[in-house]
Amino acid sequence: MTSDYYVQFTPEMKEEYTILVPSMLNGHFELVIEFLGTYGYKMELLTGQGKEIVDLGLRYVHNDTCYPAILVIGQFLHALRSGKYDPQKTALIYFQTGGGCRATNYISLLRKALIKAELEFVPVISLSLLRLEEHPGFKLNIRQFMGLFDALLYGDLIYSLVNQTKPYEINAGDADALKQRWIKQLGDALGASAKNRDRILRHRKETYRKIIDDFAAIPKQPRDAIKVGIVGEIYVKFSPLGNNNLEDFLLGEGAEVVVPGLLDFFIYCLYNSILDYKYYGRDFFFHLLSRAAFRYLCNKKREMIKVMEEEGSFRPPAPFEHVIALNKDYISFGVKMGEGWLLPAEILELADSGVNNIVCVQPFGCLPNHIVGKGMMRPIKERNPDINIVAIDYDTSATSVNQENRLKLMLAAARLAD
């Protein structure tokens, strides 16, 4: 691949460009932005909402492309046209897995859209574990990558605690306020000088405990909320823009939302690199590297789980090794496009922890989800008859009335089983 295929992000750009980040899991992303800020990257999270984003996406992206691409590209274009940023001094960043799902091509679609919108000079940075492109101004070393994962781990912890607090809080908004406080605090800690960052990392366990204690201290009412898990395509699963504020809707129905964390997706990607060697004999070196990273992250996650267990107020997520073990007899680990085998594995993880009500979300016509989502429901239900699962499609024109009615059906069945 030659570099005239794309505009490189050069070291000079790093000095004066603002890098725009699309919204998805905003708490996590804010942390990451703070973290990368310490290395001199000026990044900004886009929080734009509204129909203009969809309209721009539809206009500049092939309408049969998946919904996340339409939203992300629409959001970028919306920001570039808003007048808030100087397009000559702005870069965009997007994560690229490099797998066989068409999501790997989102960056190309984004560039096509930029050409069409006469913004072709705007650099687009591909953030990828595989380093699919060269951007001399945006290079992360191993340590930085690991730091990035740390931020995600903290993000997952807070996200899980917020979800387990919100339905029960007596003073509405307590959990969210605490989340913001901790993000800022962690952001400051991660974002301060290297020394401070080392300290917080070294005292990781204490920090976990402090966060957990804070959430445990929020006054809660004792009540039984129905637990509803959300799995599915990563963007619509996490992004309120993508799923019509699904979490808020479920909360409004009195349910507790359980969402497996974001870090799992990255551990899943690493695990796939290991299997790529095992199944297909590909890239030995990368497999070694992935194996090391995989172990590191699994250990870190287990460490966090342990602190949660010790404290005892909250339901910890399952260790990733356990998630892998649960899926053993369902779908092959060779299925690695999109969410791949992780999707059924997460359904099983939720069921294993007593969350039997599951919303499986996907963009309309998502290819991998034909296989790992809708294609796997029958075998999963056959062997776990108690699982109450509903598949919801998201799309530029799918209406919330349709989606909500189906969700209500799932909730009615959940209440009946309760």
Partner: protein, 1081 residues
């Protein structure tokens, strides 16, 4: 007991998408039940119904619950309790008929299946599903029948046609095509019901058996006995355990009443007040857009501006002289225009097709002949549209004009410099760019977004308005709702949502107009800015006669456009203008018209195993016209030349391979023999022979397979000590068949391929398809597996291939997720696979070592006697066969190109994926194109003849990488065109089609895309390909004119004189770029 008391007086209100149902229970007795359509006046209708029971309700407090899709919104605003309707149904059925096994409930826009026997499970249709009451309503309107008439007609049906059941839009296209072919209303009515049945079973039951007593609930099933009959016949059940109870309409309302029993009691006044409250509280959550017109003044100016673009009308009674006739027999409408010597409009006619277009035109022609009398001589007549050929045969019009050319001719009349034409008709959106006086590129909406024009009308009718009236409402809308831009099924639910949020009808009407426009702009044209469309835009088509739609378009484009006053008649007008070339006409005379008789019948073509359904139209004068054919065979044109068609060639290769003829095994394939097979045969006799061989080969694979097998099997057993292994002939097997065939043969297996797909095979497997939006090639796979199991195979093989073979040049070489992992879906969803061994090992076919290792592991499971060395040998043999086959495909491509150049034929790359050669998947498009005079090659047979162009996307997939190279080949060669086949639901093609288009257009080539699905409607494809041909010819002619002009100025004598010789010369030049066959040996 408080509970019992409350249930004593319980009210259930079920508000669906079209109706309100109310049920009141007192003391265990139903005392009041009513059912009415609400026409979107939800609160008013509900209150109206409740008022009828005011005495009963006012007597004492009662508990109440709302249900239904529109009830959801009402409950949110009114604060009344809500119960989900499927839940309500489930609960009441458990109470009333505890022995029920399953419930099928169809509503206005929802379809539900609830299972009780063997674990309760409830399913609702997804967001892309139209097989419901609204769908039946739409279809009845299309047939110009009431529901009872439709129902009654369905009992007289003699045959059932396949109609797309997934979505109403598709179905409409199919039904129109059936009408245009002359199919009977009775048969269509039953086919519509069958479509609903299939949709319910495939989309909702998804492989789960409907066991035990079956209940039919909901309006459509209650009112339509014919629909119930179709369900019973399809499920092979009788009336004893498959019943529609008398409360079928009220099950949800009763369920809601039952479930309300523990809730807080309401008084009548409080209930009414709560429902009324919604009026005040109504608000828009959703965005709304600027009004179409700010004031009456603006509208007046708008009207005045557009009234200027008109044709002079002249009374036919005053006129004497010559005249020309144009007939546009469209998919939903029929238009006729008669013009005078001075291009004045003498007569025009526009109507929506109700039944046979032949009858409509006949009546009109009689009228025109009568009005003309002896004063006016019709000197020429031309027909265009879907029914172009039918009209030519029926009424002897002098010419048939491709639709696109007719429209261009008409548009040029109003704006000679037109550079963009947008036509929004009832079913189609068409747009053409004009460059240098020729159509440069044509875009048509794919079947999934069509029907926008007729949707406006259907919706207007559903709301109790005429289309015009409804449109006028939109003009005055203050805050049009934003309904999005997608297929009309989605729009239905968007409208539902807007209604729920309290939008007025005017706002919805305006919103719909805006949606139609957005659909055209964003989905079909995909323009980023109006500048891309050009300066002079002419818009036409019946839908744009609607001022609201036109205004929405101008606002969206930000510029004024020309809409001729006869926007709805442009096709016919253009045809009439074309007819002016004639001096005298063969059009049937008044006397002949009086004698005119027409009958149509349906028969199955036995010309080959494709078994096309033919509609034969016979006319009184002995003429006949056949439609529905994919090739020329039924027309008796045996002597016509058969051009090289690599789709056909590849199918034959595969059949030969499957039949075990040995072709493709080993590396000893003779290139000369390939070339001979490929070379077309000119004489009728030889061609017949070829056809016979084809049929025999096909027969061997399909119907006759079980009978033919025993003899062969005995023989095979000796050679195949390891038994039989079955491979489904779909997806990746199309490409890798030689590899697996040679490999398993070498290992001592007898390899059995499933036959080429047919509709029947699809239907055989459709019950276990878990995702209704997946591509057709994947859906068909279920049937292939069933078929192999039927043949008693106990070992099946469809490998999981994350990576395809790396052919170089691309960044990665993946398979698409569906091709790669469909084995997982089959294993998980086909129960029958559990009793046999289905191997879907994860293999890396890029390295012999890896393949040996992983395949060895997988095979050892089923046969421990297999040795690694054996597998290694087999892999080697497999690769030899595969590379021989790949080489043969490339040689065949080169040979076809050479043939085309020798005989001065155009070449068409029918670009898709290897599995698109399947006759059921490509629906004979290859034959159609071949019949139009193209030499057909596949993308993989010519990809090697061009370099991979510079791409703007990441080249992830092996199959798709060939598309880009093939596009480059088309760019490099003037005589090569590319038509891309895209499977509906193939998300990857959203990326590839854009890129292929970009590559082609960067070099001034035309890009044509054809979306294919399970539906076999070639009418639209034919128009597309003919338009392409027309555009190519016009381009050649323009190039030729330019060259002549150039000659005149510069005097370069050796420049070519006509298009044909210019093409010949270009072909000669290009020969040099083509490697000779020897260099490939």
């Amino acid at each position: 007991m408080a509970e019992a008391l409350h249930f004593n007086r319980a009210l259930g209100i079920d508000i669906g998408s079209t109706t309100v149902k109310v049920s009141l229970t007192c003391g265990g007795q139903i005392v009041f039940e009513r059912y009415e359509r609400h026409l979107s006046h939800i609160q008013d209708k509900t209150i109206e119904l409740l008022e009828q029971a005011s005495d009963l309700l006012a007597a004492a407090p009662f508990t109440v619950a709302l249900s239904g899709s529109a009830g959801l919104g009402l409950s949110e605003i009114s604060g009344l309790p809500f119960v989900q309707e499927v839940y309500a149904t489930g609960e009441i059925v458990k109470q009333l008929e505890p022995d029920t096994g399953a419930v099928i409930e169809l509503g206005g826009e929802d379809a539900k299946v609830i299972f009780f026997a063997g674990g309760t499970d409830a399913r609702m249709n997804g967001s892309c599903a139209g097989g419901t009451g609204a769908f039946i309503d739409q279809m009845a309107a299309l047939l110009d029948m009431t529901i009872p008439e439709l129902d009654e007609a369905s009992f007289r049906a003699e045959r059932i046609y396949p109609i797309a059941s997934r979505c109403g839009v598709f179905a409409k296209t199919d039904v129109q095509a059936l009408f245009n072919q002359g199919a009977g209303k009775e048969d269509v009515a039953a086919s519509i019901y069958q479509a609903v049945v299939n949709q319910t079973i495939v989309g909702l039951a998804q492989g789960r058996q409907l066991q035990g007593k079956l209940l039919f609930l909901g309006g459509p099933l209650y009112y339509c006995a014919g629909l119930r009959r179709r369900f019973r016949e399809t499920l092979q059940r009788d009336e004893t355990d498959c019943i529609c109870p008398d409360y079928a309409l009220f099950a949800v309302a009763r369920g809601a009443a039952y479930l309300s029993r523990n809730l807080e009691p309401y008084t009548y006044d409080r209930l009414i007040e709560s429902i009324r409250r919604t009026d005040e509280k109504s608000h828009y959550e959703r965005g709304f857009v600027e009004p179409l017109f700010t004031d009456a003044e603006e509208y007046r100016n708008f009207r005045e501006r557009h009234e200027q673009d008109n044709v002079v009308e002249r009374s036919i009674e005053d006129y004497t002289g010559r005249a020309w006739l144009g007939i546009d027999s469209g998919s939903t409408t029929t238009k006729l225009v008669l013009i005078s010597e001075d291009q004045e409009l003498l007569y025009s006619y526009y109507c929506v097709n109700r039944g046979s277009p032949v009858e409509i035109v006949l009546e009109q022609l009689r009228e025109i002949r009568r009005l003309c009398g002896d004063r006016i001589e019709i000197c020429g007549a031309a027909s265009t549209g879907y029914g172009e050929a039918l009209m030519q045969h029926a009424f002897h019009t002098d010419a048939g004009v491709v639709e696109t050319m007719a429209h261009y001719t008409a548009a040029r009349f109003f704006q000679p410099e037109v550079d963009f034409i947008l036509d929004i008709g009832g079913q189609d959106i068409k747009c053409f760019y004009i460059k240098n006086g020729a159509i440069d590129s044509i875009m048509l909406n794919e079947a999934c977004s069509s029907g926008c024009g007729s949707f406006l009308e259907t919706f207007a009718h559903a709301m109790g308005y005429e289309a015009d009236e409804f449109a006028r409402l939109g003009i005055k809308a203050k805050a049009p709702v934003d309904l999005g831009s997608r297929c009309t099924v989605f729009m239905n639910s968007s409208i539902k949502q807007a209604q729920r949020e309290g939008a007025s009808l005017a706002d919805i009407a305006a919103g719909l107009s805006i949606s139609v426009v957005k659909n055209a702009l964003y989905k079909v044209i995909r323009a980023g800015s109006p500048d891309e469309l050009g300066e002079h835009i002419v818009v036409q088509g019946g839908t744009l006669l609607n001022d609201a739609v036109l205004r929405a378009l101008e606002l969206e484009l930000g510029r004024d456009v020309i809409r001729p006053e006869i926007a709805g008649l442009m096709g016919a007008f253009g045809a009439a203008l074309v007819a002016r070339q004639f001096g005298s006409s063969n059009l049937l005379s008044e006397a002949e018209l009086a004698e005119f008789r027409h009958e149509s019948s349906v028969r199955i073509c036995r010309g080959c195993t494709n078994h096309c359904t033919l509609t034969v139209n016979r006319f009184a004068d002995g003429g006949r016209y056949i439609s529905g054919n994919q090739c020329q065979k039924p027309l008796g044109l045996d002597a016509c030349e058969e051009l090289p068609n690599l789709y056909h060639w590849k199918r034959e290769r595969l059949l030969a391979l499957a039949a075990g003829s040995g072709a493709g095994t080993g590396a000893g394939m003779d290139a000369g023999a390939d070339a001979k097979r490929l070379r077309p045969k000119r004489s009728g006799k030889q061609e017949g022979e070829l056809a016979v061989t084809t049929d025999r080969a096909l027969g061997r694979m399909s119907e006759q397979m079980p009978e033919q097998r025993p003899g062969r099997m005995a023989e095979q057993r000796r050679e195949s000590p390891r038994g039989r292994i079955g491979l489904p002939t779909t997806l990746s097997t199309y490409e890798l068949a030689p590899l697996w065939q040679a490999l398993f043969t070498e290992l001592g297996y007898e390899v059995v391929f499933s036959p080429l797909s047919t509709r029947r095979i699809y239907e055989q497997g459709q019950l276990s398809i878990p995702s209704d939006t997946i591509c057709y090639p994947a859906k068909v796979m279920h049937g292939h597996i069933e078929l192999l199991l039927e043949q008693g195979l106990e070992l099946l093989f469809y490998p999981s291939l994350t990576y395809n073979i790396d052919e170089g040049g691309s960044s990665n070489h993946f398979n698409c997720p569906v091709v790669a992992y469909y084995g997982e879906v089959l294993q998980g969803n086909l129960d029958a696979l559990k009793s046999v061994k289905f191997l879907y090992p994860y293999l890396n076919i890029n390295s012999a070592g890896q393949l040996t290792r992983t395949l060895y592991q997988a095979l050892r499971e089923v046969d421990p006697t297999i040795a690694r060395s054996e597998v290694r040998r087999a892999v080697r043999a497999g690769y030899a066969a595969l590379s021989a086959e790949r080489a043969a495909v490339r040689r065949a491509g080169e040979e076809a190109v050479r043939y085309a150049r020798r005989h001065h034929k155009r070449i068409m790359i029918l670009a898709g994926r290897p599995y698109h050669v399947d006759p059921e998947i490509c629906h004979g498009i290859d034959r159609l194109a071949s019949a139009l005079g193209f030499v057909i090659v596949t993308e993989d047979s010519v990809a090697h003849l061009a370099e991979l162009p510079q791409l703007q996307i990441l080249n992830q997939w092996t199959y798709h990488s060939r598309l880009y190279q093939a596009a480059q080949f088309a760019c490099d060669n003037a005589d090569v065109e590319l038509v891309q086949l895209v499977s509906f639901g193939c998300g990857i093609d959203a990326i590839t089609s854009d890129e292929v288009k970009r590559i082609l257009e960067s070099r001034g080539k035309l890009y044509t895309q054809i979306k294919i699905d399970d539906i076999n409607n070639l009418g639209a494809v034919r128009i597309r390909l003919r338009s392409l041909l027309g555009a190519l010819e016009a381009k050649d002619a323009a190039a030729c004119r330019q060259q002549r002009d150039g000659d005149g100025r510069s005097g370069q004598g050796e420049k070519l004189k006509d298009a044909d010789t210019s093409r010949k010369q270009r072909a000669g030049e290009l020969k040099r770029t083509l490697p000779t066959a020897s260099s490939w040996r």
